[in-house]
């Protein structure tokens, strides 16, 4: 019983200690917003990585910048606008829909539409080609002959 008690106390203590451990980040709220925003942003050094996953030094600096902007109570849109004003639409994984990015957003659907039209036209053409012409009298006679045998 005594040992159990000691074990229990030490267990509680360890819990307390765990809570005392140094947090990974200073402010979890800021950090969760940082992760949320930076997943939408592209790292400019390694262009296939998001700002949240990149280990490039510039990404570190940009995360610091975003953190400061979050602390200054800027909205997500304001933060993205700031980075776009410095690095261009390229930093956004989902660029705004505007005349300049129309081709990017709608181009694939236009190509799909054109392909669909061509496919329809082609199929219609084929259908006209393979229309059953029926058997001629001579052929019918031959078929009957063959079936009889």
């Amino acid at each position: 019983m005594k040992y159990l008690c000691i074990f229990w106390i030490s267990f509680c203590l360890s819990l307390a200690l765990a809570r005392e451990a140094v947090p990974l980040t200073e402010d979890p709220v800021v950090e969760s917003r940082l992760v949320h925003i930076s997943q939408e942003l592209r790292c400019l050094v390694c262009q296939n990585e998001s700002l949240s996953s990149s280990r490039a030094e510039l990404a570190d600096d940009l995360r610091r910048e975003v953190r400061d902007l979050i602390r200054a109570n800027k909205s997500d849109q304001e933060i993205k606008d700031f980075l776009v004003s410095r690095y261009g639409d390229f930093v956004l994984y989902r660029p705004e829909v505007k005349p300049l990015t129309w081709v990017l957003w709608f181009g694939p659907f236009v190509v799909l539409l054109i392909a669909g039209i061509f496919l329809l036209a082609y199929l219609r053409q084929r259908r006209a080609l393979v229309q059953p012409q029926g058997l001629s009298d001579a052929e019918r006679a031959r078929v009957e002959q063959l079936l009889k045998d």
Binding site: L44, Q47, E57, D60, D61, R86, Y87, F90
Partner: protein
């Protein structure tokens, strides 16, 4: 007979698109800062504790060049800039960008010591390779770099009399680029 050529034509279209697409430098991102006022800042210079800010250059056409002693491409670019500065009376301001890198032993020191180390290192480097800059400003934490959209050192900007950014180049400046683009631009800006 015509139909035979359709795939061929499509194939050549594809080849042309790929040829253009694959020959473009993916690192070259159009800067949204062209035509915008150069972001304001105030930083101490390499030479003294006096601060420099872009407003001091109002009324002049000047070049802003981002460099660092750790930057390999800067070493390639530097003689070109030195020769250019000797030949032409165009002020070039240097931005010593993040001289102390995070992996640098000096990075753990206080800001004052970091500034001192960075200054010493940069001064020695400029002494050895020549100094094309009218002044260099010390951007130790890279914040001014972010204001200017720096993502690869070296970078070069041309800023006009009104303090508007007119041109940006990412990567080492070549004699050809200076002669064909930057110099005509600076000269035409100087006339207006």
């Amino acid at each position: 007979m015509k139909k035979v050529f359709i795939p061929l034509v499509l194939f050549f279209c594809l080849v042309i698109f790929l040829a253009i697409g694959l020959n473009r430098d993916p690192r070259e991102i159009p800067s949204p800062l062209i035509g915008k006022p150069a972001p304001a800042f105030s930083l101490v210079t390499l030479e003294s504790d006096k601060t420099f800010s872009p407003e001091q250059m109002l009324g002049k056409v000047w070049m802003f060049n981002v460099w660092a002693t750790w930057c390999v491409a800067c070493r390639e670019e530097h003689p070109v800039l030195v020769a250019f500065a000797e030949k032409h009376q165009i002020p070039i301001v240097g931005l010593s960008y993040k001289e102390i890198q995070p992996q640098d032993p000096a990075a753990k020191q206080s800001d004052a010591i970091k500034l001192q180390v960075a200054r010493e290192r940069s001064a020695v480097w400029l002494q050895r390779h020549g100094n094309p800059y009218t002044t260099s400003v010390m951007d130790l934490d890279g914040r001014v770099g972010i204001q200017y959209g720096v993502y690869g050192v070296p970078e070069t900007y041309v800023i006009d009399q009104q303090g508007v950014i007119r041109f940006k180049h990412v990567g080492a400046v070549t004699p050809q680029l200076l002669a064909e683009k930057i110099l005509p631009l600076v000269q035409s800006l100087g006339k207006s």
